[in-house]
Point group: C2
Chain length 175, copies 2
């Protein structure tokens, strides 16, 4: 039986100049990642950020739903936010379980990449990594088992939001 977890990386990622950089965690990413992952039975959702103050902010926001009055009014939000785990590095997530590591990118190599619909056929624990900013800074990340196949658009822009990409990957994976 395969188990799926997700990580949203805020460091090390690339900025618009291709330099190693850090982004802020946004509340909309927390809620959309938590919700899509709860909907498709994916857990935990690691938010990777090196700053303790960023963790404190996110934990404080989520505490309103997990332990506070928000969870009484909106029980689904309590359930989904309980999957959120702030960690300082991708390695911290890897230390928690025997994960096979899968990277995603709009520019992922087509050749040799794994179709998300095939991932559940591979036994074990899988960690799917999403980038923010201008994408994953792979040269400063641990070697992965591989890439998931990129989502090919047919339209006028080449990138989805990371929230849209996550939803589509999980849908393809679970169908």
């Amino acid at each position: 039986m395969s188990k799926i977890a997700v990580a949203l990386l805020h460091y090390p990622i690339l900025n618009r100049h291709g330099e190693t950089s850090t982004t802020a965690i946004t509340s909309i990413d927390v809620h959309d990642f938590a919700r899509s992952c709860a909907f498709y039975d994916v857990d935990p959702v690691y938010l990777v950020h090196p700053a303790p103050a960023m963790h404190a902010l996110i934990d404080d926001m989520n505490d309103y739903y997990i332990n506070g009055a928000g969870g009484d009014k909106k029980p689904a939000r309590k359930i989904m936010l309980e999957s959120i785990r702030c960690v300082y590095s991708l390695q911290d997530a890897l230390d928690e379980a025997d994960y096979q590591l899968w990277y995603t990118s709009a520019e992922a190599p087509e050749a040799g990449s794994v179709d998300p619909s095939k991932l559940l056929e591979i036994e074990g624990n899988h960690l799917i990594v999403f980038g923010t900013g201008w994408g994953l800074d792979v040269k400063n990340l641990p070697p992965g088992n591989g890439w998931l196949s990129p989502i090919e658009g047919v339209g006028r822009v080449r990138h989805l939001s990371v929230r849209g990409a996550l939803a589509i990957y999980l849908d393809r994976l679970r169908r």
Copy 2:
């Protein structure tokens, strides 16, 4: 040749008590809807809201990218936001083209609903309608051609964000 457009409804929708209500347009919905639709060649994106001041706010925000300095720095954002159309009612969108009207809901009837992957086999212009708040207030909306099949989760919550649902519907439709 089929053509797909999308509408995000802020009135008439239901509130938590099941009453006819209005929600605010959020900037994250504008950007995520515009981006996912541009990625999958869907156009226009109608934002349905009855208040002229809400239109003015959205148009002013988008103007920075469509006509202002933002579009020079981020050309993809200019392209995608050009698809956004604020209208006062769903009827205003229907008056613009000979649309076949398709509603979506997490509680859409399974029986008789149309799988999104089949929609392009039906010739003509299609308008797919998404709700905000606690969902579409169908009794106060024009009769549709039908419902798109609901997205079935396997997890711990029953609803996706409307941004996630849009991304998945368009992916299923275009694959």
